[in-house]
Symmetry: C2
Subunit: 337 residues, 2 copies
Amino acid sequence: MPVGTRGAVKGVAFDWLEAWDCRVVLANTYHLMARPGLATIEKAGGLHAYMGWPRALLTDSGGFQVMSLAARRRVSDEGVEFRSPEDGTRHFLTPQRAMELQSVFGVDVAMALDVCPAFPAERAEVEEACRRTLAWAERCRRAYSGPGLLFGIVQGGTHEDLRRKSAQDLVALDFPGYAIGGVAVGESKEAIREVTARTAALLPGDRPRYLMGVGTPADLLASVRAGIDLFDCVLPTRNGRMGHAYTSRGEVAIKHERFKEDLSPLDPDCACPVCRRHSRAYLRNLFVLKDFSAPMLLSMHNVHFYLGWMRRLREAIQGGRLGELEAPPEEKILDGA
Amino acid sequence: MPVGTRGAVKGVAFDWLEAWDCRVVLANTYHLMARPGLATIEKAGGLHAYMGWPRALLTDSGGFQVMSLAARRRVSDEGVEFRSPEDGTRHFLTPQRAMELQSVFGVDVAMALDVCPAFPAERAEVEEACRRTLAWAERCRRAYSGPGLLFGIVQGGTHEDLRRKSAQDLVALDFPGYAIGGVAVGESKEAIREVTARTAALLPGDRPRYLMGVGTPADLLASVRAGIDLFDCVLPTRNGRMGHAYTSRGEVAIKHERFKEDLSPLDPDCACPVCRRHSRAYLRNLFVLKDFSAPMLLSMHNVHFYLGWMRRLREAIQGGRLGELEAPPEEKILDGA
């Protein structure tokens, strides 16, 4: 799922996403409840109509952003009280409120409100987060009245027993889908993969399993092999805006001097509108000169690449070839063409 | 012609331009000779291949940018000596060099090197600019070896007699097309329209007439009525990035509070990918929050609007209805929907 924080996937017009077989976009409840606010989205007829995206939408619950972005937050069993970092106004996000927001949004997949502890955290803090996440999941289950599916979120940090308990408790609540949260918040790549594999194995195979906030193309392959079905990640757009491209041959840091005369496309195996027309030398020049089109073009390529990579993973599963599939190298490409 | 200063039309992928029947893009010789430089463009096989734009290209000569952007320039009969504002390197742009660049670029329309005086300027300075522009036009005519058409540029400021002499002198050189330069450099709208109409009437009707750097949709209509065939202007992209949209109902300054709850499209009569999906409220929110997609979406709409407006002008000419056509109002739209 490309990330559309404020209702737009940065630098990638929705017509491209539709042309590239993108089926779900993620949007952020935390950002949308602040601006434009629930009333405007309701007046528009829901989030699909407000955004102009008729295909599936998944919204996070706002919990992760409250923990990472909001100022002076105070978590209690009731919910999270916080101040908006923009205008200082006081807000109170409860499980009920998170469900009301996402119900009115009318999204296809809503997420339960969870508590995502920072990393590293004391074991006691992670235990407390799991306890609250479970209590809130029950309240969310009762409060959600939207047309979509409500997913529960497993917490537990890097503690195997806490992850197991969190997964089992949530599965007992019988959600139509499950997410693994609280990963990729600062742990090592090995820890992320281990937690993902162990947790995915505890979740029912007949329900969608969603790994939140991950990752590189190789991370996606490893996670799909572990049973994950859904991902969201800002890497293709955020890194695209910074001049970092994902390709089938490795990663291209386009601003590097070595691409100055390189007239080959970003990715010789790519049929996206950027690779069909433009060379690394052209894109590098636009980046060096801070041309507005440069971040747009790399974001387009990266999102196209990620969507194509996920399609290859789906086809490999269908063809029984997932074990043979090789991820693109994570090394940077060092030679010009 | 959308403006692709450094080889990209800021915020508008070339696939859109092709879909919207854009036939010519303008690129800036001054910027391209600095970066990536002639060698890279030659190595790519010309400017079309370097940019990834197979349709027609027009390049300016670099003269206007040297006058307006370069540091410590010195104009002599030989050409313009200047220092790059970026790295302080010394350059010498002569008519021969401007022709060499555009010949190797392989563009469809090349422009003669001219001297564009600042506005306001003493009459003597404008006379001197006309004299040099004519002398350089002769040298350009001999030096140009590219595959395209070389256009001469009429100067003369707001002086009727100087414009007439400049036009007549150039016409005597028998160029395949003519441009009116040195307009829209600070004069009043009335002065621009008067100079345009008077000068266009002095240029042969069987050759393309190109008004450089103009203007609003209403300016385009007035100029087409005066006989102008070709335009380039940064307004749709530059103003789009600033949050200013051109519509059939008037101009929309999208950041304004009044559009906060306005769920109607930028332009109810527009079928562009932005107006088909998004509301003013959605676009305003992205602009207020400085989302990267916001300037992109308004640039897309504006370029689509300009290309559509030019198509309407062509159809009106073909249908004998140019006199009846009404320009969209230049007033800002004051009411939300």
